[in-house]
Amino acid sequence: MEAQSQVVDRLRSSFRSGVTLPEQFRQTQLSRLLSMLKENEEKILAALHDDLAKPKFEAVLSEVELVLGEVHYAISNLRSWMQLEYCAKNMATKLDDCFVRREPLGVVLIIGTWNYPLQLVLSPMIGAIAAGNCVIVKPSEVSPATDRLIAELIPKYLSQDCYAVVSGGAEETKALLQHRFDHIFYTGSQAVARCILQAASVHLTPVTLELGGKCPSVVYGRVNIVAAARRLIWAKFFNAGQSCVAPDYVLCSKATCDTLVPALRAALQDFYGTEPQTCPDLSRIVSQKHWTRLVELLEKSKAKVVVGGETDEEDKYIAPTVVVDVAEDDVLMQEEIFGPILPIITVESLEKVIDFINSREKPLALYVFSDESSVINTVLEKTSSGGFCSNDGIIHMTLPGLPFGGVGASGWGSYHGRWGFETFSHRRACMMRGWALERLNGLRYPPYRDDKLSWLRWTTRTNCSIM
């Protein structure tokens, strides 16, 4: 098996050869990625089921289709993304060519994670390939079946000189980070992100950090409680709550809580039946370690379980659970839940809702359910978050026009669609001057004089539109 440094060196010399630069090469690789997904859908679904008991529906929608959508989008738009972008000029530079050229960075590292093991590795990879880089992908070892499948398929379909998969755990990842990359794209936790950033600082490597946080879901004011509950349940229990943009907890008034809980119960029953453990449409927790973590949270919590609460260790099963009477300092409110437990915290005014949100770290997503647009606008204006969605959850991340990423503790940088291409590109400012008008240049040369300065001020004014 190839040593890590050999892989990095090989990719670096491939990059230096210029093979990834032409549009045709990138299009070919993207098309092969398309084939890879289409020809192996069954294998992919099986691996995802192995790792997370992912229902076929969820796997198809959130893993396969999402990635297919991104590849198609990149293929259709690559040419326009690669085009030179000509810029506005001032009068002194009117006769020059000023443009921005998108260039690949070199060899980039993408570190995936386990909750959407295929999407979170391939989606950034699409941006990296489209931008003309060589890519090393490090899938998460916590989802081993998908890890193995990615390691098998990528070399089969994509150029082995330019793209490689490195598998392994924490030790291998640490070793990988000793090498020099031109960009590191990491999805995962804040604790590991700090290590990544430290390793990156050694080589001044730019990073993109897609982290998480506790995504608040505000339910406030006049609201169609049935519709809100259904959308909330869907977004929360998709992948058994193991989504970085899952609504983590609910903020609402006591009165709303009283109508919300029965609506949540009804929606849960509609979706997963009366025996959710037998329902094929509900995922499982990814590992014993995470199952234990979640069960312990439930045990230590002082909140009251009003829906669900059942668990099964052998099956790594936790029932969709709703808890109320949650204190602000309850153990469920200490870190991102990342599981099928939905705490409801009651606060009695919109101001208190906003204070609650703002006294915590900026989340990756923020949700507001309300029929009153003033409520939505107030929360939007007075808070900050990676992304924002009113009256639904998760779905904003399927729009390639929106940059998907965090802010503050929830992350740095963004991707999806063109944003992925830009993340893995360098925008090189280019200016092409001619040889004429050297006399005009004379204004700027020493000996310096006040009258020269006045002329220069006039020519560099940007809003002069005579010429």
Binding site: F57, L61, T398, A409
Partner: protein
């Protein structure tokens, strides 16, 4: 609480009141900054002259003129920059509102540099204010008089809680870096850049690093050597070579080396007279430490022009070195001084090889009439910026992003790029609670029919004009009615 901690805490408290966010506030502060530059030009210039021996005209040209332009641009364009930016939607969100909302990050730390102290410290501040942030400004302690003037003048014109000036040296900067910021904007060298990035890791703070490097300058033998050399000499010896994008060294064929030296010599005389030390338009090295650093580089190279110096005056003459080898001392780090080495190369191939052996520079210059040659350099090298047939000027075009890549930096600014760099671009999807029926296709219990519809609706993306959107909506409503009626019960 230390002084630094207090300043940051006050700035955060002021930011939390929300007053930096309104457009009126931002424009008012920018106008105040404008007034500062025009009303206090004299004090600003006197301080810079004491620090760097720059003349009045030079100061206006290279420090304040650019700032005035940036402020004007920001004031004029702020409404547009800060407005929600609509983006394309997919079929399912066709009747929803989808846009990117630019928002302030919070409290930004701006660490300035000493070579163009006003330009590189205030230009990021303009972006920070325009984007609605609070900003702690830390001017470089190396330009002692300018730091003092900044500390006095800024609070007199702009909100002193939102935009405090914290001056000091290494230990004060370290204390600042222990505080939590929402962005750190640093201009300086790569060594300190790494320290900043490592310090930022603790709070996961994003950074913009405007660093430097050795900016190569290739002179093609077929170009107008006289014009090329005049432009290179201007780019090099302005501010005594202490410019992050100064042409660091020249690459050219041996056959033109003598001519290049001759033409540069002519330009030096034209700009700075026979005795640059007495010329008011020629600057000085910032301090003794840098003076010694630069002079040590002369050891193992051949001086063709200049070479004389005066330590008591921190004066180093405009100098050209010939037949320089890649192993020479002067080629080991960014010169940041008035030494111009010429490295003879056999042609463009060797030049490109040499350039690519080094770290990616902040700027790359090529002088040639041959478009194909320029294209090769574009394709086969990388750099923050690329300029053909002149030096430095790309800095002044505010519609070009100014920043490095690799060792020369991360992130960019100027014009709208400053605004975007110091904003959070928040993706927003505004939906209503109606049309719940449509959502049924994504809810469990899952059926393959639902899956088919979901594949079609949820993930297909389009960007239609208004009429197209209306037509599609009509079709969709019709289709949805049929689907709901027959398939999703």
């Amino acid at each position: 609480m230390s002084r630094e901690e207090q300043a940051v805490a006050r700035a955060r408290k002021a930011f939390d009141t929300g007053r930096s966010k309104s457009l009126e506030h931002r424009i008012r502060q920018l106008r105040n900054l404008q007034r500062l530059l025009s009303e206090r030009q004299k004090e600003i210039s006197e301080a810079i002259k004491k620090d760097l021996n720059k003349s009045e005209v030079v100061i206006q040209l290279y420090e304040t003129l650019g700032l005035e332009e940036e402020i004007n641009l920001a004031i004029r364009k702020l409404k547009e920059w800060a407005a929600p930016r609509p983006v394309e939607k997919n079929l399912l969100t066709i009747s929803d509102t989808v846009y990117i909302k630019p928002e302030p990050l919070g409290v930004v730390l701006i660490i300035g540099a000493w070579n163009y102290p006003w330009a590189v410290t205030i230009q990021p501040l303009i972006g920070a204010i325009a984007a609605g942030n609070a900003a702690v400004v830390k001017p470089s302690e190396v330009c002692v008089h300018t730091a003092k003037v900044m500390e006095e003048l800024l609070p007199a014109y702009i909100d002193k809680e939102l935009y405090p000036v914290v001056s000091g040296g290494v230990s004060e900067t370290q204390e600042l870096l222990r505080q939590r910021f929402d962005h750190i904007f640093y201009t300086g060298n790569s060594v300190v850049g790494k320290v900043i990035m490592e310090a930022a890791a603790k709070h996961l703070t994003p950074v913009t690093l405007e660093l430097g490097g050795k900016s190569p300058c290739y002179i093609d033998k077929n170009c107008d050597i006289s014009i090329a050399c005049r432009r290179v000499a201007w780019g090099k010896y302005t501010n005594c070579g202490q410019t992050c994008i100064a042409p660091d060294y020249i690459l050219c064929e041996p056959s033109i080396q003598d001519q290049v030296i001759e033409e540069i010599t002519k330009s030096i005389k034209e700009f700075y007279t026979e005795n640059p030390q007495t010329c008011p338009d020629y600057g000085r090295i910032i301090n003794q430490r840098h003076f010694k650093r630069i002079m040590a580089m002369l050891d193992d190279s051949l001086v063709a022009v200049g070479g004389d110096s005066d330590e008591s005056d921190c004066y180093i003459a405009p100098t050209v070195l010939r037949d320089v080898k890649p192993e020479a001392k002067v080629m080991q780090e960014e010169i940041f001084g008035p030494l111009l080495p010429i490295l003879p190369v056999s042609g463009l191939d060797e030049a490109i090889k040499l350039i690519n052996k080094g770290e990616k520079p902040l700027a790359l210059y090529v002088f040639t009439p041959d478009d194909k040659m320029i294209k090769r350099i574009e394709d086969e090298t990388s750099s923050g910026g690329l300029m053909a047939n002149d030096c430095l000027v790309h800095y002044s075009v505010s519609s070009l992003p100014f920043g490095g890549v690799g060792n020369s930096g991360m992130g960019c600014y100027h014009g709208k790029f400053s605004f975007d760099q110091l904003s959070h671009l928040r993706g927003c999807l505004i939906k209503k609670l109606n049309k719940e029926g449509m959502n049924n296709m994504r809810y469990p219990p899952h059926t393959s029919k639902k899956l088919g519809w979901a594949r079609f609706f949820i993930l297909k993306s389009i960007d239609l004009g208004w009429i197209g959107r209306m037509a599609l909506l009509a079709i969709l409503v019709g289709v949805a009615a049929v689907v709901l009626q027959n398939y999703l019960k």
